[in-house]
Symmetry: C2
Subunit: 289 residues, 2 copies
């Protein structure tokens, strides 16, 4: 079942107006979330990021957080889904006028989809992900660098590049050559006894798990954190590395461009952070896992 | 009437699957074309660019040029439209699998819309357009810099910036600070007796009218042309400037960031090129204008 503009309809019957600016111009935003026990723990973090993106692109959202949250829960319930990957899409809707300029009073579309998802398999966490460094430079000075927008084709191309090179993910460098993030995840390195992640100015997306690691999980483990420019050469000095996203949680990164990071096995910081995150999610979840 | 995946349906009845990657990820391409007398003159130039973009993003197109051209003509005929703005959208369609990675064998969507359009009003050509220089840097090193993709939100934001500053268009500089193009048009300057336009390496879109000006129209007028990096300061030295696109044709640019270009009136090169272009379009048009 898909939620579309106030109604729940079977996925193959749901129909969007092809004039919607989400389709014609990539003019909108999205969130990918993980549901547990029929609801999304810490959904307020996703909705806060959505609202920040909406301000950046000048799209007034006509829904309260409670309404969005309720729509997500109803979509999950309608599909009989407890553990799921949930995608929430907001777009600028069908315009009154032709052209690039948005209507002064747009009527945004809201689409919510959910798929059964119980997490990636254990053996992937045990092996860790392998990444390549993409040839596609991420424009850290774009107003969209910190926005999860529907104009996502560069990320698609980076992920395709990773698959062609038989890797799981692609790391993106920005136009200055520093590391920014992965195609659909944030990047962390352990350097000495410090946890380091590219800052937002480097073009990192403000990931919800990234924020949790920085503000709550790392401090609880006594790890000092630093958001700053990270150059690719620092990868060689890293004791360990990992990726974060709502669906991955904390995923070890054990190989980049064919070279192992340290021993090429998941490190203690990522394992401890993953355990903390799982516990946090369980505690925050409505129905428990 | 809208053409959608092989059928013509009334615009307000046309429905796209909201799982289409054009909507969820800006994963697709588009062309904006001008029809005269019921068909699009030189449509082959648009279709060639579409195919080049499809190669760049790795999207096999299952349609011959003749089929696409026929679909455009049928859409125009169904709407009773002779002179129109036509928008053709191709997207990667509804995927089999969740996530960023495209299916190995996608089933792309094709949407064609047309609106009555007889050209912009004469008084706009007589006044010329006013532009601002956008604060949004265009990433000239992105594989999408030369592709008219559905991930178009940066262009939307640039146009919005222009409107907020009471201008008609926004000029985009690339990450090196050179001029690349406008939000939905190419840029030309007359410097001395030479016609200069940002090269593709600067992040210019390979516009169909840009190509015509470079390869056919300017040579016929005895104007020498140069595609190269253009820095913003050269605007001050320009004897005239103009914008090109399929809908604008050749549009004088008479003011940038509040400063007049030369006398602030349309220059002779843009007037002569516009006349040549109109004649070329009329000669190429199926039904005449």
């Amino acid at each position: 079942m898909i939620w579309i503009n106030g109604s729940l309809v079977p996925a193959d019957k749901a129909r969007l107006d092809p004039r919607d600016r989400g389709y014609t111009l990539g003019d909108g935003l999205f969130e990918t979330m993980r549901a547990r026990g029929g609801s999304v723990p810490l959904i307020e973090r996703h909705l806060a990021r959505l609202r920040a993106g909406a301000v950046e692109i000048g799209l007034p959202l006509p829904w309260e957080d409670g309404e969005l949250s309720e729509a997500v829960s109803r979509t999950l319930a309608a599909g009989g889904l407890a553990d799921a990957a949930v995608r929430l899409t907001v777009s600028r809707g069908v315009p009154q006028q032709r052209g690039l300029l948005p209507d002064p009073e747009p009527r945004p579309s809201l689409v919510i989809q959910a798929h059964p998802f119980g997490g990636y398999p254990d053996h992937l966490y045990e092996r860790g992900m392998h990444a390549i460094t993409s040839a596609i430079p991420r424009n850290e000075r774009s107003p969209l660098a910190n926005v999860k927008s529907l104009s996502y084709l560069e990320n698609v191309l980076a992920r395709r590049e990773a698959a062609e090179r038989r890797a799981d993910e692609a790391l993106l460098r920005n136009t200055s050559g520093d590391l920014a993030c992965a195609s659909a995840a944030n990047l962390f390195l352990v350097l000495g006894d410090e946890l380091v992640t590219p800052d937002l100015g480097s073009g990192a997306l403000p990931g919800t798990v990234r924020d949790l690691v920085l503000a709550e999980l790392a401090p609880r483990l006594g790890l000092s954190v630093s958001e700053r420019a990270v150059c690719p050469e620092e990868m060689e000095a890293a004791g360990e590395a990992f990726l974060t996203s709502a669906l991955l949680g904390v995923m070890p990164l054990t190989r980049v461009d064919g070279l192992s990071i340290e021993a090429g096995t998941p490190g203690p910081a990522s394992l401890a952070l993953r355990r903390k995150l799982e516990r946090l999610w369980e505690a925050a979840g409505g129905g428990g896992v």
